[in-house]
Symmetry: C2
Subunit: 246 residues, 2 copies
């Protein structure tokens, strides 16, 4: 049996999704909870390897093997042994060929900025504090200019293992909600740190220190050194992962 | 000089507002930050002594003495030495007779419930997780029935030092925002644990286990033993404190 879980987590206290030695990770907690409930070692495959401090509202993982617990009881059974900052939202069986990472058609990330003279205590774990005024119309124009099938090499951190730096950014939308600015990115895949690197550069546009022409030159240059800073991790959330109906 | 500060805090990691031995409190952190910036011991007076785990968006404190820092620089000066879960939002000078607690005309608390099959990781520190269906119209009817000058003895925890258990509840409003239910309480003052005790009983109304007649009988009985449970602290937030213009 191949089981697909949808997972929500607050990444503040974790060293990212992927298991690594001597660091607590989301994957390790999921595997520990599954081992405890299924009485056997379990290895999960995650759709997105979120970094330390990055959150998820709709991370997807899958794992193989017999499932002695009725599927509709799986979220409650796992949540009762998981830390409170990780929740199983949904569990379903999928075809044997389903792979959380390779079967993904597109992923959506949302990056949240908090604007104001101080960083709200309620948003500090879930947003990037920006004190400068931001021109939201200019940021939306930049967002529009990024959409498409493009080479995003200028926004890829070194250390990524991708064969190509071309990605199809299907949607990029900037919206305001009171003191928050949210930027939604949907793509067929993302390079390592791509959303956070795009955000650093989009904030340069919002602050007026980078023009649309400058942004186009950064994209065309295909050189990470040309682009802006990497926005901090706590503003980033893996919102959802979409698959073919399976 | 009498200085009034407006303070926002995430109460999760504190043993409440008021200084107590061998426990970290909001008041202690404020007094440490002030002592560091003013180079003298400072005692602050708080408007509301919020309990462990309770939050504030608009707590008010005042303190007396010389102020060597320009007032408009005070928030930044204090925020730079305060923990990140406590922020000074505003600082102003007030008349010598101003007392954060005794001069308050009314306080507003907001209590937040999260409804759903699991407790959202993003709301777990700021809400009470309720899995039962809640009849919001019935809760609003109950809220309406609570408003007025009343004896709230049935909703006062023992341990309070109040001389009378009469309070004027000016506003009580239930609203829905997606999975959240927010209840706003404005009164000239609150008895110890009054909002959390009212919430426990209002949720009984929302679940249909307590009728409007039952609620009236609890109020009339003036006996804490008659009312529902005390709702957990993390759903509670001191939203604002109002004063005469001063």
């Amino acid at each position: 049996m191949n089981v697909k879980l949808t997972v929500e987590y607050d990444g503040t206290n974790y060293h990212g999704f992927q298991v690594q030695p001597n660091a607590n990770t989301i994957q390790e907690e999921l595997e520990k909870a599954l081992a405890r409930r299924l009485n056997r070692p379990v290895r999960v495959i995650g759709a997105g390897r979120t970094d330390a401090g990055v959150h998820a509202a709709g991370q997807v993982v899958n794992f193989f093997g017999a499932m002695p617990i009725p599927l509709d009881r799986v979220p409650v059974a796992l949540n009762s042994v998981l830390p409170r900052d990780i929740r199983i939202v949904d569990a379903k069986t999928v075809s044997e060929t389903f792979h959380a990472r390779f079967s993904a058609l597109r992923k959506t990330y949302v990056y949240t900025i908090y604007r104001g003279p101080y960083h709200s205590v309620f948003w500090r774990r879930y947003s990037w504090w920006v004190t400068h005024n931001l021109d939201i119309a200019a940021m939306n124009q930049a967002a529009h200019g990024l959409v498409g099938q493009r080479d995003f090499a200028s926004f890829a951190a070194s250390g990524g293992a991708a064969k190509t730096s071309e990605r199809h950014l299907m949607e990029c939308l900037v919206s305001e909600e009171g003191p928050l600015v949210k930027v939604k990115f949907t793509a067929d895949g993302f390079l390592y740190n791509m959303v956070r690197n795009l955000m650093g550069t989009m904030v340069d546009v919002g602050m007026g220190v980078l023009s649309m022409g400058g942004l186009a030159a950064i994209l065309a240059g295909r050189d990470r050194a040309l682009a802006g800073i990497t926005a901090p991790p706590q503003g980033l959330c893996l919102e959802r992962v979409d698959y073919e109906l399976s």
